[in-house]
């Protein structure tokens, strides 16, 4: 019964927070309006969210976010130096990364993370969702890059979203 009327509790919570930040005032009236929107919007968009989002270890997600933010900072400096240095220093390459993740949300978070971090953009996902094609700006060793992405980002995401049963 609860599942029927509140299909996505996490989405509801996020929507309430986003609403409060959007109106930029934390009054009771706005909180109630936010709760109403957070309740009604998931019901109307139910078709786009067939599966319930499961986060097995929410706290690991916080650590993951901190790590990614730090990597974004480093990525910005590295790419800025590459751009200033000019084309001589870039060695672009496409690197296929075999995926072990199966959840759609986890795969999209991985692709987003790859695009935001050092010199890599996720360019293409194979139709069977088993290979993510990554374009690197300066690739010396494609295998090492694939290993780094798998170890640094895919493993934590597996632990967070798809813990071994």
């Amino acid at each position: 019964m609860l599942r029927h009327w509140l299909p996505h509790p996490l989405l509801t919570l996020t929507l309430v927070l986003v609403w409060l930040l959007l109106v930029n005032s934390f009054t009771l009236a706005q909180a109630l309006l936010g709760l109403f929107l957070g309740w009604i919007i998931p019901l109307f968009t139910l078709r786009f969210w067939p599966d319930r989002v499961r986060i097995a270890r929410p706290w690991w997600l916080v650590f993951f976010l901190v790590k990614v933010l730090w990597d974004i900072l480093v990525a910005n400096l590295a790419v800025a130096l590459l751009i200033l240095g000019g084309q001589r220093y870039t060695r672009p390459a496409f690197v296929p990364v075999p995926l072990e993740l199966r959840t759609e949300l986890a795969i999209s978070i991985l692709a987003n993370t790859v695009s935001l971090t050092p010199g890599t953009v996720s360019a293409w996902l194979s139709p069977d969702r088993r290979t993510l094609l990554v374009h690197g700006l300066r690739v010396r060793d494609p295998d090492a890059l694939a290993r780094e992405i798998k170890g640094r980002y895919e493993r934590p995401l597996r632990d967070i979203f798809e813990p071994p049963c």
Binding site: I72, I83, P92, F94, N112, V114, S115, S122, W124, H135
Partner: protein, 135 residues
């Protein structure tokens, strides 16, 4: 003190945004150019937003947290648009310095052969710049 911090953050942000746009002009091919706006710009906009939070929070009208939302939406949408641009470029066979991967060729299959010849000449020219404008 707070004025110094705000000015420093604005200068840093402007510098990174400038470098990001410089990358658009300088890098070799379409795929490399995608790196500029997705990264250098993220930190550029990030510092500008932190400066905005500091300025408006200390100027008397209470804490301003709009900027958190801007950051959140930017971090969600920038990689998605970059991914879509790269995917479309691979599909159209846009000219690339790095050899295009065999997986895409096989996935495109027979229908890709026709589009390949049609779209190859306008690799980094008008096609890339018009896509940039919308991205």
């Amino acid at each position: 003190m707070q004025e110094i911090a705000v000015s420093a953050l604005i200068v840093i942000g402007a510098a990174f945004t400038f470098i990001g746009s410089l990358g658009l002009a300088r890098l070799g091919d379409f795929y490399s150019r995608l790196h500029g706006p997705t990264k250098a710009t993220t930190l550029g906009v990030g510092s500008l937003l932190i400066a905005s939070v500091i300025y408006f929070s200390t100027s008397g009208s209470g804490v301003s947290l709009h900027e958190v939302l801007v950051t959140l939406f930017l971090f969600i949408t920038a990689p998605v648009s970059a991914h879509l641009l790269a995917k479309v470029a691979l599909h159209l066979g846009v000219r690339s310095i790095a050899p295009p991967p065999p997986q895409v060729q096989s996935a495109r299959g027979a229908e890709g052969a026709a589009t390949d010849q049609r779209s190859a000449p306008r690799g980094s020219g008008s096609g890339a710049s018009t896509t940039r404008a919308t991205g």
